[in-house]
C-alpha cells in the first residue's frame, strides 16, 4: 500500500477513489476500469482526482490524462443534471437525426461547441450508435431510450423535464 489518503489532503473527497483503487489492486493495467468507476461516482473526471490516480498507480499524470482524453466515454468537464444523447449512427442519420439535434439545441440555447446549459441542467451530446437502429432515429434521455423521434417529439421530451424541474 503506497499512498494512503491523508486526512488533510482534501480528506473525504478521495475516500471513494481510494476504495476504487483498492478494488482494482492499484494496477496500472486497470486504468480504464478505474476511470470508469471514478466517472460513475463523480459523473465526470475531475482534474485533481486524475492526478491522485496517477500518483496512486505510480504512473505519470500525462498517461492518465492521455487515456482520459482518448476515449469518448470519459468527460473531463462536468455534465448537466439531465443527459440527452442523440444517436447519429448511420441508420439514425439517414432517417434525419440532425434536425432533432438542431431543434433540441436551439430550445436549450446551446450554440457553437457548447454542450451543457449554463444552469447545468442539460448536457446534449451525440453518440455514434446505440445499436437500436430498428427504431431510428433514437434519443436517449437519462438512460431511457426513445425511438422513432421527430424534432417535435424530441422537444417534447425536453419540455417535460423543464416542466418537472420547475414544479
Amino acid at each position: 500500500m503506497r499512498t494512503k489518503p491523508k486526512a488533510d489532503c482534501n480528506g473525504r473527497k478521495f475516500v471513494k477513489v481510494f476504495t476504487i483503487l483498492e478494488k482494482h489492486g492499484r494496477k496500472p493495467s486497470r486504468l480504464v476500469p478505474i476511470l470508469q468507476a471514478v466517472q460513475e461516482e463523480y459523473r465526470y473526471l475531475p482534474k485533481e482526482v486524475l492526478t491522485y490516480v496517477a500518483t496512486a498507480l505510480d504512473i505519470s499524470p500525462a498517461r492518465v490524462f492521455g487515456v482520459a482524453t482518448f476515449y469518448s466515454h470519459f468527460a473531463i468537464e462536468p455534465k448537466g443534471k439531465h443527459l440527452v444523447r442523440l444517436c447519429d449512427g448511420t441508420a439514425c442519420h439517414v432517417k434525419d437525426s440532425v434536425p432533432i439535434l438542431d431543434a433540441i439545441r436551439k430550445r436549450l440555447k446551446l450554440e457553437g461547441k457548447k454542450t451543457t446549459t449554463d444552469d447545468m441542467m442539460f448536457t446534449v451530446e451525440t453518440v455514434a450508435c446505440l445499436g437500436a437502429c430498428g427504431l431510428a432515429p433514437v434519443v436517449v434521455v437519462d438512460d431511457q431510450v426513445h425511438g422513432q423521434m421527430t424534432p417535435e417529439s424530441g422537444m417534447k421530451l425536453v419540455e417535460e423535464i423543464i416542466a418537472r424541474e420547475q414544479s
Binding site: K27, P28, S29, R30, L31, V32, P33, L35, Q36, R63, G66, V67, F70, Y71, S72, H73, F74, D88, G89, T90, A91, H93, V94, K95, V127, A128, C129, L130, G131, A132, C133, G134, L135, A136, V138, D143, Q144, V145, H146, G147
Partner: protein
C-alpha cells in the same frame, strides 16, 4: 460438478408442453415499453387465475404457463413482440392496454387476436406467427435460432437446448489439434469484418510454445448502424461464452476476456451474469467439467473508441493504455496481450464455433458459398419497410435481402416505394455502397471486395432516392476523422483534409481539381495507414465517387444538389405537371415564397426560399423536387 445437465444437442429435447408467453426484451422493444408489458402480463394472468412461473424447469412443471423475457427477436420495428407457444402466435406492437385482451382471448379462450397480428404490406394477409411472415420465412437462423426463445438469464434453459455440449466435447474428448482441424475444415471465416480464416488464426496461436495464452472476444461493435453482436449477447450470451471456451481449449489458453462496448449496457449485464452462472456450474474455474484444467473469463467494458475494434488497439486498451494500434507482425497470435500468444475472435464467429463442433464441419459447409461457408447475420436498417436483424447464408443476393426480407424501400413517410432503391451502404464507415446494378450480387467476402465494398461486421443501411450520396460520404468521413487515433499522419491529417474537401463540395466551393485531389489523397490514406481504420477510411469516398460520380459533378460543376439534402445547393422547384394547385404548400411556407392560383401549378420564388423543405413534406402528390 453439473456436467450431467449437459444434454446431447442431436437428441432433440423437444420442449415441454407447457404454454409460454415470451416478451421480447431487446433494446428496441424495451424502448417501446416491453418491461411494462411483462408486468401487465404478470398482473392479468394472475387475475385470470392461471398458475404462472417465470423460471425454467426441464421437467414437467406444475404451473400451466411460463412467462419470460427474451433477447432480441430481430423484428425491432414491430416491437414490443409477444410470442405465445406452442400456439406459435406472434403479436406485434403490443401495448399494456392490449394485454387483458390477449390473456382473455388467447390464453383463456384459445383464440387469436387478429388485430395484433403482423399484416404483410404486400398481400394484406394477417400472419399468425413467424412461419407466415416473409421477414422470418426467408431467413435461415442458426446463430439467432435461440435468441428470442430462451431466457438469456437462465443457464438451465440454454443447457436444455443442448448448451455446453460442444464445450464439454472439446474439452474432454478432443485434442487441441482435432479442434483446430475441425474449424479449419469448416472454412469458418471471421465474422468481425476481415473474413480471416478462423482455423488458421487458431493454428498460429496453438503452435506457440508459451505457458500463458489468452483468448479475447471482440464485442466492441463500433460500426454505426450495426447491432448483430449486441443482439446475440443480449439474446443468447451463453453461446458466445461457450465458443470462447472452445477457442481457449484449442490454443491452450487459461484466461479469456470479453471486451464489450460500453454503449451496450444490457449486453454487458447479460454477459456478466452468463459468466457468473457458468462459474457456479463449474464450467469455468479451476476444474472445468472435471478435467482438472482451469479456465477463467472476465468481462471488460470499452470506453467509447471505434479504433479499439482493431486487434492491437484493443490489446493496448486492455493493458490500460490509449487504444492505439501497432504494426503487425508480430501478430497477436505470436505476441499479443502482455506479449503472450493471443487470439481475438468476434462474437458471431464464436457463436458459429459452437455449431461447427456440435454438428461437424461438413454440416456447417452445406450452407453458404464455397469460399464463404455458413450463415451471416446482418443488421438491416435505413429506408426499408422491415428493419431488424436477419441471418441468411452467404451468397444470398442483395435483392433477396433488401427487397424481399426487407420488404422494399420506403419513402420519407415510411411508405413502400417500388422504384425507390438508390443504394445500400455495407460495412459501415469501412465499407462501400452497392447500387441497382449490384442487386443480384451474391453477398460474400470475395464478391463484395471485388466491387470495392466489404462485408464488414454486417451493417446494411438501405437508402432511398432522396438520399444525397455526397453527404453520406461526408457523414462517414466525419466519423472516421473523429475516431482516428492520431498515430499515422496520413490517417489523422488525411481524413481531416478529405472531410474539408467534402465540405467544399457540399457547400459549393469545390472545383474540378478538388475531386482529382480528393481521389489522390484517398488512395494515399489507404496506403499510408497502419491499421484497418485508416486503410478503409477512404472507402466510402472512393465508392461513392465510383458509382455516383454524376452527383459529385452536379454539386461541383452545376452547384446543385439533386436530392436537395445539401441545403446550400438545394434548388426546390414544383413540377407543373404533377401540381394540381391545391395551395397546401403555399399555406404552409413560412416565408411566403410559394405563389399560384387555385387549381393552377404553383411556383417557388428562389430569392425568398429558405430551403426548409416544408413544402415537400406537405405535398401529397410529390410535386416538389430538389429539397
Amino acid at each position: 460438478m453439473n456436467t450431467q445437465l449437459i444434454l446431447d444437442p442431436a437428441a432433440g429435447n423437444g420442449g415441454t408442453t407447457q404454454r409460454r408467453v415470451i416478451v421480447c426484451a431487446g433494446t428496441g422493444c424495451v424502448a417501446n415499453g416491453a418491461y411494462k408489458v411483462v408486468q401487465a402480463f404478470a398482473d392479468q394472468i394472475a387475475a385470470a387465475g392461471i398458475s404462472v412461473t417465470t423460471e425454467f424447469k426441464a421437467e414437467e412443471s406444475q404451473h400451466d404457463l411460463r412467462l419470460n423475457k427474451s433477447g432480441c427477436q430481430g423484428f425491432c420495428q414491430m416491437g414490443p413482440l409477444v410470442t405465445i407457444l406452442p400456439d406459435e402466435i406472434l403479436y406485434n406492437k403490443v401495448k399494456v392496454e392490449d394485454v387483458a385482451e390477449i390473456v382473455n382471448q388467447t390464453l383463456v379462450g384459445g383464440k387469436v387476436v387478429d388485430r395484433l397480428l403482423y399484416v404483410d404490406p404486400a398481400t394484406k394477409k394477417h400472419c399468425k406467427g413467424i412461419n407466415d411472415i416473409p421477414f422470418y420465412q426467408r431467413q435461415q437462423r442458426f446463430v439467432l435460432k435461440e435468441c428470442g426463445v430462451i431466457d438469456p438469464e437462465s443457464i438451465h434453459e440454454y443447457l436444455y437446448h443442448g448448451g455446453y455440449a460442444a464445450a464439454k466435447k472439446a474439452i474432454l474428448k478432443m485434442s487441441q489439434e482435432e479442434i483446430v482441424q475441425e474449424i479449419t475444415k469448416s472454412g469458418l471465416r471471421g465474422r468481425g469484418g476481415g473474413g480471416f480464416p478462423t482455423g488458421r488464426k487458431w493454428e498460429a496461436a496453438r503452435v506457440q510454445k508459451s505457458a500463458k495464452k489468452y483468448v479475447i472476444c471482440n464485442a466492441d461493435e463500433g460500426d454505426p448502424g450495426a447491432f448483430m453482436n449486441r443482439s446475440v449477447m443480449e439474446g443468447n450470451p451463453h453461446s458466445v461464452l461457450e465458443g470462447l471456451m472452445i477457442a481457449a481449449r484449442a490454443i491452450g489458453a487459461d484466461e479469456t476476456l470479453i471486451y464489450v462496448r460500453t454503449e451496450y449496457p444490457l449486453a454487458v449485464a447479460r454477459m456478466k451474469s452468463a459468466v457468473e452462472d457458468a462459474q457456479k456450474m463449474g464450467f469455468l474455474g479451476d476444474n472445468v467439467f472435471g478435467s482438472g484444467q482451469s479456465l477463467n473469463c472476465e468481462v471488460m467494458e470499452g470506453a467509447g473508441a471505434f479504433v479499439c475494434g482493431e486487434e492491437t488497439a484493443m490489446i493496448a486498451s486492455i493493458e490500460g493504455q490509449r487504444g492505439m494500434p501497432r504494426p503487425k507482425p508480430p501478430f497477436p497470435a505470436q505476441s499479443g496481450l502482455w506479449g503472450k500468444p493471443t487470439i481475438i475472435n468476434n462474437v458471431e464467429t464464436l457463436a458459429h464455433v459452437v455449431r461447427v463442433i456440435n454438428q461437424g464441419a461438413d454440416t456447417f459447409k452445406k450452407l453458404g458459398s464455397a469460399a464463404s461457408p455458413g450463415t451471416k447475420t446482418f443488421a438491416l436498417t435505413g429506408h426499408v419497410a422491415n428493419t431488424g436483424l436477419i441471418e441468411v447464408p452467404f451468397g444470398t443476393t442483395l435483392r433477396e435481402v433488401v427487397l424481399n426480407i426487407g420488404g422494399g424501400i420506403t419513402d420519407r413517410r415510411g411508405k413502400v416505394k417500388p422504384n425507390g432503391f438508390k443504394a445500400v451502404q455495407i460495412g459501415g464507415p469501412s465499407g462501400g455502397c452497392l447500387t441497382q446494378e449490384h442487386l443480384d450480387l451474391p453477398l460474400d467476402y470475395d464478391s463484395l471486395r471485388s466491387v470495392g465494398a466489404m462485408v464488414g461486421s454486417g451493417g446494411l443501411v438501405a437508402m432511398n432516392e432522396k438520399t444525397c450520396m455526397v453527404s453520406i460520404a461526408r457523414f462517414f468521413m466525419d466519423f472516421t476523422q473523429r475516431e482516428s487515433c492520431g498515430k499515422c499522419v496520413l490517417c489523422r491529417e488525411g481524413t481531416r483534409q478529405l472531410l474539408s474537401m467534402l465540405d467544399d463540395v457540399i457547400e459549393g466551393r469545390a472545383t474540378g481539381e478538388t475531386l482529382v485531389l480528393m481521389e489522390k489523397l484517398a488512395l494515399a490514406v489507404q496506403k499510408g495507414s497502419l491499421c484497418g481504420l485508416g486503410k478503409t477510411a477512404p472507402n466510402p469516398v472512393l465508392s461513392t465517387l465510383r458509382y455516383f460520380r454524376h452527383e459529385y459533378d452536379a454539386h461541383v460543376f452545376h452547384k446543385h444538389c439533386p436530392t436537395g439534402q445539401c441545403k446550400a445547393l438545394a434548388k426546390p422547384s414544383i413540377d407543373p405537371v404533377k401540381c394540381k394547385g391545391c395551395t397546401a404548400c403555399a399555406k404552409k411556407c413560412p416565408v411566403g415564397a410559394i405563389s399560384g392560383e387555385k387549381k393552377q401549378a404553383h411556383v417557388i420564388d428562389q430569392t425568398k426560399c429558405i430551403v426548409c423543405g416544408v413544402c415537400a413534406d406537405t405535398c401529397k402528390l410529390e410535386a416538389v423536387a430538389g429539397v
